[in-house]
């Protein structure tokens, strides 16, 4: 069974939600890993949860990028191990340069906490490989700085893939469906290889119908299936 590692920083607050989703609901091995850890040996999938690491001081995610655990994280990301950053985890991935772009305040200037619909744009990543292209997922967002911008200089050398876009229930890309004003309705992007995914909505908060949606679970079931098929093929992940 794949070993999940949920990193947590001072100020992370979705670490136990992720742990609960993976360990209790999916019954997969899962470690909670403090940001001072210097090794991620044996981890098959890294989860960087949401929250307000270092109080969002300076910029969301800006200080966490220098935590000791980010060194082995970079190594695993380079080896092709699946890494998912959710909300503040996405901000940390962007600040550390593992994903392109940046975040500014929501165009509404409000903290946005609501359900969103997101459309799957790319199924060639570990987290979306069992989903259908164009499938619409119901996932919640909760952020103040979820307004994603791509590098204004259009730096094409930094590979990027748009994986999730905010949409209406029927899949149409509208500005009303875009809770933060993110460029191109972007809700989630991956690196060019596809193994590092950042997303603003919270899949771990939509694992149980009791909470309104089970769609987030599909993304984790996807990565489990991806890891198992890699292991079955005898490929080093």
């Amino acid at each position: 069974m794949p070993n999940f590692g949920v990193l947590f920083f001072p100020g992370s607050n979705c670490d136990h939600d992720c742990y609960h989703a993976i360990r209790k609901i999916l019954a997969q091995p899962c470690d909670l890993i403090w940001h001072e850890e210097t090794s991620l040996a044996g981890i098959d999938c890294v989860v960087i949860p949401g929250g307000f690491s270092y109080g969002d001081y300076l910029r969301a995610g800006a200080i966490s990028q220098f935590s000791p655990v980010v060194s082995p994280l970079r190594e695993l990301a380079g080896l092709g191990v699946p890494v998912i950053g959710i909300c503040n985890g996405f901000q940390i991935l962007v600040e550390s340069g593992l994903l392109p772009g940046a975040f500014i305040h929501n165009s509404s200037l409000k903290f946005v906490c609501r359900w969103t619909s997101v459309r799957v744009e790319d199924t060639d990543t570990p987290f979306t490989c069992t989903l259908r292209k164009g499938e619409v997922l119901k996932l919640p967002v909760a952020n103040a700085q979820g307004n994603f911008v791509l590098p204004p200089d259009g730096n094409s050398s930094q590979g990027r893939r748009i994986v999730l876009r905010y949409c209406g229930d029927g899949g149409a890309l509208t500005s009303e469906a875009n809770p933060s004003g993110a460029e191109d309705n972007i809700a989630g992007i991956a690196n060019s290889r596809g193994n590092v995914l950042g997303m603003m909505p919270h899949p771990e908060r939509s694992f149980e119908s009791l909470l309104g949606s089970e769609d987030g679970r599909k993304m984790f079931e996807s990565v489990i299936s991806w890891i198992k098929s890699r292991n079955a093929d005898g490929k080093a992940v």
């Binding site: 200080i63 600040e95 940046a102 500014i104 305040h105 509404s108 911008v149 204004p152 004003g181």
Partner: protein, 84 residues
């Protein structure tokens, strides 16, 4: 060793939308301050640093800005140095 006051200004690039600046602009209009056509909000970081010369301090401050204090994707910075 000399002591220097270092004032670092970080602001969003002109091409990047500034939602905070927009809100400030609207609030100023609401208060009756007419004739304000734009507002941009930035950050100031003040440091006290020790070193041999303002050139050395400048090099260090520049590196700090690139690594941590600004995000070069969306922000520009400027550094002012004064010997104490």
């Amino acid at each position: 060793m000399k002591q220097f006051s270092v004032k670092i200004e970080v602001k969003l690039k002109a091409v990047v939308l500034d939602p905070q600046g927009k809100a400030v602009l609207n609030a100023l209009g609401g208060l009756g301050f007419n004739g304000v056509s734009d507002a941009r909000v930035g950050k100031i970081v003040e440091l006290t640093m020790e070193g041999e010369s303002s050139e050395e301090i400048g090099r260090k401050a520049d590196e700090m800005c690139r690594k941590l204090l600004s995000n070069p994707v969306i922000e520009d910075f400027s550094v002012e140095i004064a010997e104490k």
